[in-house]
């Protein structure tokens, strides 16, 4: 079964509205990475979170890693049409190598 759950699956927002996607792992993660994938494209690395409770910001994007290192979130403030795409979280499990376990992704559409 899916080891990293991500919700929602789809999110439709009006341009200027905020957007949040959440990831939850059944096991503790060593770190989590976030990727953005445009239709027909490949996952593009956004950020990596390693420390418990870590918060990182990239312009309008805010990433959080939970205290227990089992959950994470990505929040976009004041969405723009260029934010359209599917956002994936991908975690690395403790002592299980470098492979990434992806969440199902959240597909964001932004209406101008």
């Amino acid at each position: 079964g899916q080891q990293v759950m991500q919700i929602p699956q789809y999110q439709h927002v009006q341009e200027g509205e905020d957007f949040t996607t959440y990831c939850n792992s059944s096991t503790t993660l060593s770190n989590i990475q976030w990727y953005k994938q445009r239709p027909g494209g490949h996952p593009v690395f956004l950020i990596q979170l390693v420390k418990s409770g870590e918060v990182k910001k990239q312009k309008r994007l805010t990433f959080q890693f939970g205290e227990a290192k089992k959950n994470s979130s990505l929040h976009i403030t004041a969405t723009q049409t260029t934010d359209v795409g599917t956002y994936f979280c991908a975690g690395r499990r403790l002592n299980q190598g470098g492979k990434l376990i992806f969440g199902q992704g959240t597909e964001l559409s932004v209406k101008p």
Binding site: H42, F45, A90, G98, L100
Partner: protein, 115 residues
């Protein structure tokens, strides 16, 4: 900056045929990962290599094999293709030890269609 290169970008095969996908990692990256992404799905880990040795194995069918060569490029060999093998195949590379916190950089992918 140089990125991960994958070839071919598109591949159409018949059932029971074989296919070879190639991946050229970012220079000085010695770890390569292969992922399979079905339509509307998230990428699923197949296999990884570090310093030319297999470092981890995921949900890769026995019909598939892969290796990493001395120049660090990797090839994914797929035999007895099935309709269900139709997917996007991504290669990702990272500069560190398999299992490190290094970022994985994804290539553009190979879209395999099995008819």
């Amino acid at each position: 900056a140089a990125g991960v290169i994958q070839s071919p970008r598109h591949l159409i095969k018949e059932k029971r045929e074989t296919a070879t996908l190639k991946c050229y990692p970012i220079p000085r990256h010695d770890t390569v990962y292969w992922y399979q992404q079905g339509p509307g799905q998230d990428p699923q880990f197949l296999i990884s290599f570090y310093e030319k040795m297999q470092s981890d194995k995921g949900s890769i069918p026995d019909r598939f094999s892969a290796q990493q060569f001395s120049d660090y490029h990797s090839e994914l060999n797929m035999s007895s293709l099935e309709l269900g093998d139709s997917a996007l195949y991504f290669c990702a590379s990272s500069p560190g030890l398999a299992g490190s916190t290094d970022t994985q950089y994804f290539g553009p992918g190979t879209r395999l269609t099995v008819l």
